[in-house]
Amino acid sequence: MFNFFYKRPYLLYSLIGAFFFLGIVALVTLPKNLFPDANRPQVIVITQVPGATAEVVASTVSKPIEEEIARLGLVRDISSINAANFSIVKAEFEYAKGLEAAAVDVANALSIAKSKLPKNANPAIYTAGDFTLPVDVVSLSPKDKSISLAEIRKVADSFIKPYLLSNPAIGNVEVFGGYQSAIDIKVNPIKAKKYGIDLDRLAKTISALNRDMPLGFVKSKNNFYTITWYGQKENVAKLKNLQIAPNVKLSDIADISWSYQKRSSGYMGNGKDAVALSIQRAPKGSVLTVSKATRAEIEKLKAQYPHINFEISDTQRDLIETANTNMLEALRDAIIFTLFVIMIFLGNRRALYAAALSIPMVFFSTMAIIWLMGGELNIVIYTAIILALGMLVDDAVVVLENIERHMNELHEDKQKAVIEGTKEVIQPIFAGTIATIAIMFPLMFVGDYPQHIFRPLIETLIIALLVSYFLSITFIPQLSLWLYRNGTEKSKIEKWFEKLYQNTIGRLINPYVAILKFSNGKWYVLRRMMLTMAVVLTLVLSVKNIMPTIGKDVMPPMDTGIIKAQIAFSANDTVDSAEQRLRPFLKWLHSQKWVRMSSVAFGTEPGVLSLGSGNLPAEATITINAVNRFDRNETIWQLEDVIRDKLSHIEGIKKNDVFDFGATALSSIKAPLNIRIKSPNWQILPPIAHEIEKNISDIKGLTSHSLSWDVDFTEITLDIDTAKALSYGLTPYQIALQLPLHGEVVSLGTALPSMNAQFVRLYLKGKYSSNIQTLKMLPIRGANGVEIPLSELAKISYKLTPAKIERDAMLYSLDIGAYRAKRPITHITDDANERLKKVNTDGVILSQEGDIKQLNDSFKRMIKAIGLGVALLLLTLIAIYRSVRLSIIMILVLPLSMIGAAWGMLLMDKPSCMPSMVGLLLLFGIIIKNAVLLIDFYQVHEAEGHTPFEAAVQSVRDRFRPVMMTAFGTIAGMIPIAMEWAVGLERLSPLADVAIGGLLIGTLLTLVYVPLYAYATERKKK
């Protein structure tokens, strides 16, 4: 290849130019993200079951759906959340399934399951994944009194949502916040009684208008019964004229108006009551494109609706833009550091120019190839490029140095020096590149989560390495022809740097040579053993003591500036009372200078996945966007403590979890520590869960803990005496329909027509408890027109039931979740397991479902990848060097670098994690290059006729400077990553910590032990 391109300089330059240009285009147009999409495909089935309780929903709706989905292929987990009136079934599939295939399969399963579901249940399918997270959340609130929130909701549903959806750049728009339109029918009870009309008859007549419309009954303060009918505006006139009885129209006994339904969901954006528009991207879309389009449309909408206030209350855009900008700055800094190192170690301005020119070429060519392959830009890709810097500079310098050596020492002329010099180093450079690729290659196929996160990194690295190899044997020789056009003379600055080097680092050669000489002295066997033992002992002691101390994480916690809080008030509370209690807190929040926006979503709305989704009406998810960590003094964990303290002062707050966005590795993991108990019988779960929670409450490092559901919702049970009821000509169902006459009933527990059950359940809002007494005397009209008080027909009592029940893997499940600041997951989970031994868990299946599950799986895979990588490397080396002995020596030196890796992690306060494992792999890849070059020169010297010992010493002398330069160059390049100079790098910095620590120690040790063993194990005579 060298010869081919050497003879065709124009072809070379045009090729480089083309890639350069493509690279610039790529940098501008590639979709940008924070981390690669790593969430598995999820399909969610939401079913509305009007009037059913959590228990009924779980057993009649979720169970059949789960059973059908369980039969599908590649299903990883099926879980469900069941609350009054709705069921949410989540099916998580393996990566291999793919989103479209998953959705189709679930749709088919559902069509089979539909026949087993109750008649009025309507399931709907949604796909979920990384694209579910809203790109932007726009908060709509009234600017003045001329428009109300209910009207804004109508406008949002009917006009704004379709308008935004018509823009092809926007994926999906979800509207959230309650106030859904409905027709209010306020019945005057006196008038109704006058005509002898009861609610039962009314309900039947109205239902006849449209079979599928659900009805809700509520009594308001002034004794009017309100029936809410979810119909269309046009029907108001129709309803007014509806004949209820001969000569009686509905408008005679009721006021009918177009209004909104009683709320089971709510939204507050930036502290104001609002309606939220959640903008999502399409599954493979780019966040920034969608966000730009959205904001442009919002500007247009602002002009169209002058009375509505449009604000952004949550966004991904800032984080991604900041991260990308930070990374480009980090790249710039890495380049500067690397070039500086070259100058110090080489004192050669031509090398500097060569490196400075090759860096942008490699960068843009890599960008171009990523773009051609259809990738995206994220922190992982940028990190890969920064990592590649050190390595690629190395290639260029090696070639250049050798050409110079040919000119200086061998006194060849320019052309010959270039040709001979390059040819000489093609093999070692190629070997080094192949060796590094070989060790990293298995990581691309490690499978599952690690593969999704790190494959882009390895791919980018491999591309960068190959491009760098190509450039170093084609471009650098051409460039040297120009660089050395005036000979190899050094300038004054260069000479000054050279002197600096010789007087400082250059002197370190002597100790090395001294050690080698030491190992060849008297009783050399003993000496060599001593040296070996020393280093092995250090390795063992370091690893044994440090690894357990630093613990393990999947990915270390990062400070993105986005804080999430999950709060809950009493299960019997309403959205309105919850909002009222939260307002003072939000006022305080927005007065803090580190807060930029806040978004609070109460309750659940059918069909909305990005907000709420599984929350009860008085439960809320709060998302707070703080300024990025470079603009404030406090860490995100300190801010979380402040917020948690403030929230704890609110009256009646039951759950108060505050944690950082991205606290878990995947969005399907509910909490960092998540203990799950499962059983076919849900009643036994809550007491055991309380016991577990009590026991884990003293684990260090936790910030909060809570149960995912509990039996703490008060409902009123009517035990209907069916015999007595029938003696009056009534069925339990007919009694149920007459109930709302005097109480505030939110939903009836027996709207399912097939139910002949005795138990009827009522959910009462507000002053519910006074109404149980009211219910006692409630007149129920029997078949013969006789009125009987309810307490004659039924025994009324209170009961505590769950407001929400969860299921997982076909059993009922309850999660005890706990959040942490930065303590490693393995330590927390080990503590939890210790304490769990004291809890009696008979009858339930207990499992750890937090980060630990993913951690164990990922670590296993990573270790396998490392093992395979090393094996592959060994075989590659044997092939290149045609010597098993030498190859084994090179491999054996690799673990020595782990000493530095371990200390690096300890001193930088990082746990073992997936990035650190990748760092280990990279470390090996870099160290091996040095070993390769050492051995190469050793073989060359041996071939020249030196003794093994002399060859060893000479190779050290030859390679000391370049090895040092490579090591420090790579370290310099990794400094921005290790120092976390970009948002999000806290997750990847262990990679740099491992690499830097390992390189420092490893390089020093390689220079001693590789030559030592090379000559010591030589069978030839010394």
Binding site: K654, D698, T703, A821
Partner: protein
């Protein structure tokens, strides 16, 4: 010398590294051990204080209005209805004419009797005149004693006949009153059973007059509820049991209520189920658990469960007699918060 120094330096450096390393590991372990566990926050609650006082507990009830002063106007005579002077819904005063029946029959009977009495009276007069003469004649023995006594007995029997006819006439006059029916009370014509031309029969009601003064309220209450009185339109009325059941419900009635009530009307009222001294606890702060009722007392930072046995329950709350809870802080929060306090969560009272 140089060698020894060099060796010493190397040893010192190694020693420093080892000590530094051990310290770093120890520091990290200490830092982790010093991490605090999750903070236990106090739950902020509101409390109330209660005192013994006079309490009235009520339950809302739908009652029915009945009227016992309704008069049904009926006739004793079987006559045709000639005119109806007051229509349905009209107000009537005591003494006003309501219905007129056909009185011609009675009138002619009266006439006949009158004339018969008249003729008999004339007869009598004649006989009396004769008798007078006979008496004078008897003195002069002009007539026989027998004739004189015969005349006397004829006069007597004629007097008796006239008297009985007069009695008969009085009866007819009485009957005549039944052809003009007047209202015995002030009221409203609430029901009309006949029309003009119908035949009125003795005992068959012709119309009903309802008096507003006669209305009272009847409540029907399940046997397990003790009804003491009824509050209607903010006035309290005592309830008298009727010792009668209606579809197995006990019936009670109030005394007469003057308030424009119509019979059959359904009214909202409040049934008083308890009246007396005691402590009233609002329903909101009672926790029902395993069929027992509890309240939670705030004692410093802890919530203590206190079993209560209500003596009565109404829509205002429940009444307990246990004075131990007077002057204590009772937690006023939703049941699941109370449950959390009972399971040990610390609390903090807020105003």
């Amino acid at each position: 010398m140089k060698n020894i120094i060099r060796v010493l330096i190397i040893l010192v450096v190694i020693a420093l590294l080892v000590i530094g390393g051990i310290k770093a590991v120890k520091d990290k372990r200490a830092k982790e051990a010093a991490l605090p566990p999750a903070k236990t926050y106090t739950i902020k609650v509101k409390t109330i204080k209660v005192e013994p006082k006079d309490i009235t507990l009520t339950l809302p009830i739908l009652a029915i209005v009945e009227n016992d002063s309704d008069v049904k106007i009926s006739s004793k005579v079987a006559e045709r209805v000639e005119s109806i002077n007051k229509s349905r819904g009209q107000k009537v005063k005591k003494g006003e004419v309501l219905v007129k029946l056909d009185s011609r029959d009675v009138n002619s009977k009266i006439l006949a009797l009158k004339s018969k009495i008249f003729s008999m009276q004339i007869n009598l007069n004649n006989l009396q005149t004769i008798h007078k003469r006979s008496k004078q004649l008897l003195k002069v023995d002009g007539v026989s004693v027998e004739q004189f006594e015969k005349e006397a007995s004829s006069i007597a029997s004629l007097k008796a006949q006239i008297a009985s006819l007069k009695a008969g006439l009085a009866e007819l006059y009485a009957l005549k009153t039944y052809t003009v029916l007047k209202s015995p009370i002030d009221g409203v014509v609430s029901k009309l059973f006949v029309s003009v031309g119908d035949m009125a029969m003795p005992g068959k009601p012709l119309m009903q007059i309802s008096s507003p003064k006669g209305a009272y309220i009847v409540v029907r209450v399940p046997s397990d509820i003790n009804a003491k009185s009824l509050i209607f339109k903010n006035k309290e009325y005592p309830l008298t049991p009727l010792d009668n059941t209606f579809n197995s419900l006990n019936e009670y009635r109030t005394p007469h209520i003057e308030d424009n009530l119509t019979e059959g009307q359904r009214v909202d009222g409040k049934l008083v189920v308890y009246k007396g001294k005691g402590i009233l606890l609002p329903n909101d702060l009672i926790l029902n658990r395993d069929a027992q009722e509890y309240i939670v007392l705030a004692n410093g930072k802890k919530g203590e469960g206190f079993k209560i046995s209500p003596v009565a329950q109404g829509q205002e709350g429940v009444v307990v007699k246990d004075t131990r809870i007077a002057d204590k802080d009772i937690v006023s929060e939703k049941p699941d918060i109370l449950l959390k306090l009972l399971s040990g969560a610390p609390l903090e009272i807020i105003k």
